[in-house]
Symmetry: C2
Subunit: 253 residues, 2 copies
């Protein structure tokens, strides 16, 4: 190991590592910037040459983790096999009817396992606020979801009329489940029950989605912070007060 030198090799990364370790050990908020700096062996103010504030550090850490989650989810989908009809990929065991929801369920399961495996980290990410569209999150989890829904729609397993805003309908239950689980509001007895109930939620949602009657003018638009560029500098300043009371709702009333 390099003896304590004045110039640390890559302090930025080291601080992120230390912070991540502290989050894992003491919870999403149970650590301080000073503590992370001390763990790296550096004075607190050194951190400010790499992050504008503690909040910036948290957001950077959150993006690093989100990026890993994106990879994880993409892998989960891939391991679930190709959807029938889609070109030349690793064929799925034929014989039983291939389930078109297979991949999406794998995605949801992956999301939930990830959250439950390390609740503190998940809490950090969920609490860090929206990931700006300008951020460099390699495969953003949201993109993975979008791609899978597109596949389903191409395949015809998801009616074209129901495709718009479907991320919305699918993401909500999965994310909700994750939040309820890591906050301890819901518990299941064992791993099998966990998988069973998780799949139940996803399947119920998707079945319902496939059979819904679309309104005559189609579904209204839904924007996600990640894809929509108009509001890219949301939550820049310290405490994320969020949209003022009613802003979310009363825009066009």
């Amino acid at each position: 190991m390099a003896k304590a030198r004045y110039h640390h090799g890559d302090l930025r990364a080291a601080l992120l590592d230390a912070a991540e370790g502290l989050v894992r050990e003491r919870g999403a908020d149970g650590w301080s910037l000073r503590e992370a700096s001390a763990r790296v062996g550096v004075s607190p103010s050194a951190a400010y040459h790499h992050f504008a504030s503690r909040d910036t550090l948290v957001r950077a850490l959150s993006e690093r983790i989100l990026s890993r989650l994106g990879d994880l989810l993409a892998d989960a989908c891939e391991q679930a096999g190709e959807l029938s009809g889609a070109g030349a990929g690793p064929r799925v065991p034929v014989g039983e009817t291939a389930d078109p929801l297979r991949r999406l369920i794998a995605l949801g399961r992956g999301y939930l396992h990830w959250a439950v495996e390390d609740p503190a980290v998940a809490r950090l990410v969920f609490g860090a606020g929206a990931t700006g569209p300008d951020s460099r999150v390699s495969p953003h989890p949201h993109d993975v979801l979008t791609a899978e829904l597109d596949r389903l729609a191409d395949l015809g397993a998801l009616p074209a009329a129901s495709r718009p805003g479907a991320e919305f309908v699918v993401w909500a239950p999965i994310h909700g489940l994750a939040v309820l689980l890591i906050d301890g509001l819901i518990r299941v007895d064992d791993a099998r029950a966990f998988d069973l109930q998780a799949e139940r939620v996803i399947r119920a949602t998707l079945n319902g989605l496939c059979q819904e009657p679309a309104p005559s003018e189609g579904w209204p638009a839904v924007h996600t912070t990640h894809t929509d560029r108009r509001r890219s500098h949301l939550g820049q300043e310290g405490e994320q007060v969020g949209p003022g009371a009613g802003d979310l709702l009363r825009q066009a009333e």
Copy 2:
């Protein structure tokens, strides 16, 4: 108004009021105990005769708000009318087929409106952790949901086999939607689109739920912190580290 007397009439309630105001003005975490005390015109240490810690104050405030939410949701259900077949209540406009999901949709809409109307308050409640079963939350939102699902099951609109754990399946999407909305991860353009998409999620979930094939041994048990007494002292101490990594999952593997 009483001039500044040494003994404040009801400091506990006054502190809760001040804190709630601060949350509304500056966000769920953008305030301090000292600030709330100063606003009431009292020294910081005075608060410690009514709350063991800042966290206790937050939890108490959260419970007060949860209780109001319970009332609100119960009202929303009531205003949606009686379900056909259920005794003598205010009859619903007959003529069109009465929608058995009416009340549940009203509940979900109420939940979402509440969250979006005052995101900071919702964030506080969601972040305060589970409400212990011993807490005196008059009609706990969770109880309202349970009651509505029981009604649906009694009516036959929800298959008996799907009733166990249905809170789980219904709560997740609604809560997830609320969280995504208040965190700004999802936005809709206007109030009509909001209602439409919210109803879409709930309806999709419930339709899917009504048509699911139950596993041969039935659905495994699901516990919620509110109804399950075994773990009532969860999250008592300061930072809610949550269950250790994997605890939620690996219990019975």
